[in-house]
């Protein structure tokens, strides 16, 4: 059966997707007094290709990476390829979800997760009966 015939079925298309190469971007993570900062090397991606989600304390960074086409040329030596960048972290620190900021510059993603303000302990006055 040819590849094309194979891919007429739905199952196949999902197999095709999962066969996409998963790439682990290298990351640095630092912490300051008021934020957690994640820096990830993701060369070859554009802003619109990045998906960042924060749900149930789980931060997921996903991005599809494409390789530029070179018309009339054949690959001679290959070390980097298209694929899907993926890293997932559980963040145990309380984070202000609405304050999360992301920037992408020269293939480096920088995420700032501001820490939630600590809850001020409330003093409860005991009344004497």
């Amino acid at each position: 059966m040819t590849q094309a015939q194979n891919c007429l079925t739905k199952e196949c298309s999902s197999t095709e997707k999962s066969r996409e190469k998963v790439l682990n971007p290298w990351v640095d993570i630092t912490e300051t007094d008021d934020a957690l900062i994640l820096t990830a090397d993701m060369p070859g991606v554009a802003e619109e290709d990045i998906d960042i989600t924060f749900h149930d304390h789980v931060l997921t960074i996903e991005a599809s990476k494409t390789e530029s086409e070179h018309e009339g040329l054949k690959p001679y030596y290959v070390e980097h390829a298209a694929g899907r960048y993926l890293r997932r972290f559980k963040v145990t620190e309380e984070v202000q979800r609405d304050g999360i900021e992301a920037t992408l510059k020269d293939g480096v993603l920088r995420l700032t997760l501001p820490k939630a303000q600590p809850v001020v302990a409330q003093k409860i006055k005991v009344l004497t009966a």
Binding site: K21, V22, N24, W26, V27, D28, I29, T30, E31, T32, D33, L36, I37, T39, A40, D41, M42, P43, G44, V45, A46, V58, E67, S68, H70, G72, L73, K74, P75, Y76, Y77, V78, E79, H80, A81, L86, R87, R88, F89, K90, V91, T92, E93, K105, D106, G107, V108
Partner: protein, 148 residues
């Protein structure tokens, strides 16, 4: 030792589902085995055509001025430096995987190139170098004349 153990304990970041990806790396062929191990930096691709070559290198986080490209005969050298990021006061690392410092990589190209015709571009952390074969080494078509 103690400090490492302590660090682990309060690490606010816990990585999830990393293993399947590692498995993916291990099982998807030779190029990945190289990638997971001691891979040269930057990773490069070489595309070859009849009269030109395109070399792409993944060098995120640099500016075009930080990259030094030299061509000599059939050797291409890509050099640069990625400085360590300066931390703010009270900022500390939980994870530090990204490479830093100086790098240099020399590639042996499939043929000699004309250094004067080299073009380079840097976008999205990827360096693209276009190299051309010199005129004199291009195959020349010779027509056979009929002897009179």
């Amino acid at each position: 030792m103690l400090s490492t153990a302590f660090r682990r304990h309060w690490d606010p970041w816990q990585e999830l589902n990393r293993l399947p990806d590692e498995m993916n790396r291990i099982f998807s062929g030779f190029s990945d085995a190289v990638r997971a191990g001691a891979q040269a930096f930057p990773p490069v691709n070489v595309y070859s055509g009849e009269d030109r070559l395109v070399v792409t290198a993944e060098v995120p986080g640099l500016s075009a001025d930080d990259i030094d490209i030299t061509v000599e005969g059939d050797a291409l050298t890509i050099k640069g430096s990625r400085p360590a990021e300066e931390l703010q006061e009270n900022e500390k690392y939980h994870r530090r995987e990204r490479g830093r410092g100086e790098f240099s990589r020399t590639l042996r190209l499939p043929f000699e190139v004309d250094a004067s015709k080299t073009d380079a571009e840097y976008a999205q952390g990827v360096l693209t170098v276009v190299l051309h074969k010199p005129e004199e080494s291009k195959p020349k078509k010779i027509t056979v004349k009929r002897a009179s």
